[in-house]
Amino acid sequence: MALMTSLPTKPTPHVQGRSRVGRISLDRLRERGAISLFLLPITAVLVLLFLIPLAQSVYYSFTDYDGYSANADFIGLRNYKSAFTDSSMVGSLTFTTVYAIGTTLVITVLAIPLAVILNRRFAGRGFVKSVFFFPAVPSVALLGLVWVFILNPLGSGVVNSVLHAIAGSGPVPWLSQDRLAQLSVLGVGVWAGTGWHATIYLAYLQSIPAEYYEAATIDGASPMQMFRSITLPLLTPAMTVSTLLLLTAGLKVFDLPFTLTKGGPGFATHTITQSIIENGIAQGRVGQASALAVLFLIVVGLVVLAQLFIARRLEGRYS
């Protein structure tokens, strides 16, 4: 029995080991202590940075705790109710949802063709691949700050000065009008994320055997038919992975809207994360912010579960 447990993966009987059973089982006792020591640090991380804070978040969400006073009163579901009525919170829930769904759709639609093209041979392919991928490397916050200058309505704002030179139009208030600000944040998000996701698709594309396409060519299939009946189905796992990453990252978004617009104008580009931070830390509405944090956790959890469920069904259909 001791021997069985001492073999980590495949329990292949070990002749030499068996002759020393006595010694090994003595070692096992000592080893059990060692194993706990190995697991101690991660357990500490789990308890201190996940379990306790999570329990506290849930607890605070039912109270009017302000972060300072010693006593917090139980107020039931009131915090949850106001998450759906308070204008800043409603704004942040709306924009975060729009951003998550919007970037997921647009990036997916752009990244798949990009990956298909990058999978071909052409001069300058390495350059093109690196350039598209590169915006994913620096800090998103830094890119947001740089884009503030690019979209600036003043003469040195590139986009407006180019528009003026080409179409002669006056400065467009990219970041100061509600709808435009939302579009700008989305646009920069797409710019920063498309290459990164094309890389995921490319890796999966490269694993599709060339024979599939050869056989289809012999059968006289058109490129469009091949894309629809070979490439797309075989990219299903990649799509699961990529859209899951996009949706969860989109729901968690903070850096980009915050550095581009500070969440404004008004609450047009306010995010859930920004609401949690502002309410919970700056304004001392810990209870209120915690309710939002708990709601957020539930939404992210549901998205992940739904995605995994759909993925399993889709993959089952194609394989």
């Binding site: 980590p8 993966t9 070990h14 080991g17 070692d27 000592r30 060692a34 194993i35 190995f38 697991l39 640090p41 991660i42 357990t43 789990l46 940075l49 996940f50 306790i52 804070p53 999570l54 506290q56 978040s57 605070y60 972060g67 052409f122 350059f127 093109v128 690196s130 991928f133 590169f134 490397v137 800090s139 916050a141 830094l142 700050l145 740089v146 200058f149 690019i150 040195s156 000065s161 710019w191 290459g195 890389t199 995921i200 890796a203 699961t240 992975v241 850096d255 550095t259 859930i272 949690i276 931070i277 919970g280 830390i281 810990v286 915690s290 944090a293 957020f296 956790l297 992210v300 959890g301």
Partner: protein, 272 residues
């Protein structure tokens, strides 16, 4: 026929990627211009290269301190999370107990918890132990990344043949000896990949320093660029110079580790 299609692809894709790269061109080219020239021709090449912006940034901002702060936090956090993650992976692989299995499940659940939903209590916790506005406090918060490290490492560690560990055991090596001088060298490739991936996260992170750091002397690079927006509202070239200086290490890092970044991305995403 084939090559003609290749040329057409190049003719479309190369200009397109140049368009994608315009923001980077824009900030780099303007660091060599005076304020007046930036306003006049934001996209043109400088008439005469001007280096005053670089001097100004090093003079007017604590950029060296911020760099050292970022380096300190990143190095310490990555070392810590790799150690915690690989120890956990080794512990999980060695043991077969029911408790350990439960721990594995809890780790998966924890992995799905977004940082936002634990942020406020962690903030309170750090206030209580006086680790707010401290670089050590930041390292502690980044410790949460150990769970991601654990997942990638445990997958790789399962590919290490158990016979190797068994043989070392029979030779009388204790678990710590096996971990330190046998397992860690064997899983080096995954440690590099995860290390590179997590370095990108910690180095570039904005939200954690923005929430936990308040003194200017303890800022990380990204946070410093953020505060500099107020300082340089009118002096655009100086702001872009600061951004370029902050971007430079990332670019160098990218060139040397591109392969690892991509494979880390794929490994991380496949696990979901």
């Amino acid at each position: 026929m084939k090559s003609r299609r290749g040329i057409a692809t190049s003719l479309i894709m190369v200009p397109l990627s140049c368009l994608i790269a315009v923001p980077f061109y824009y900030i780099v080219v303007n660091t060599f211009k005076t304020q007046a020239e930036t306003t006049q021709s934001p996209l043109g090449l400088p008439s005469r290269p001007y280096f005053g912006n670089y001097a100004a940034v090093f003079r007017d901002t604590p950029i060296v301190t911020s760099f050292l702060n970022t380096l300190y936090v990143t190095t310490l956090s990555i070392a810590l999370m790799l150690l915690v993650g690989s120890m956990a992976a080794f512990g999980i692989i060695l043991s077969r107990g029911r408790l350990t299995k439960a721990l594995g499940v809890v780790l998966i659940v924890a992995f799905l918890i977004p940082g936002q939903s634990t942020l406020l209590p962690i903030y309170q916790m750090l206030v209580d132990v006086h680790l707010i506005d401290s670089l050590t406090g930041l390292v502690f918060v980044y410790g949460a990344g150990s769970i991601f490290c654990y997942f990638l490492i445990v997958g790789y560690m399962r590919t290490v043949p158990s016979e190797i560990i068994e043989a070392a055991r029979i030779d009388g090596a204790g678990p710590f000896r096996i971990f330190w001088s046998l397992v860690l060298p064997l899983i080096r490739p995954i440690l590099v990949t995860v290390g590179v991936f997590q370095t990108m996260w910690v180095w570039n992170d904005f939200i954690t320093p923005n929430v936990f750091i308040s003194s200017p002397g303890k800022q990380t690079l990204v946070l410093q660029v953020y505060t500099a927006v107020g300082q340089f509202t009118t002096n655009w070239p100086a702001f872009m110079t600061l951004s370029v200086i902050v971007l430079a290490p990332t670019v160098v890092f990218f060139i040397f580790t591109q392969r690892h970044i991509v494979s880390g991305l794929l490994k991380g995403s496949i696990k979901g």
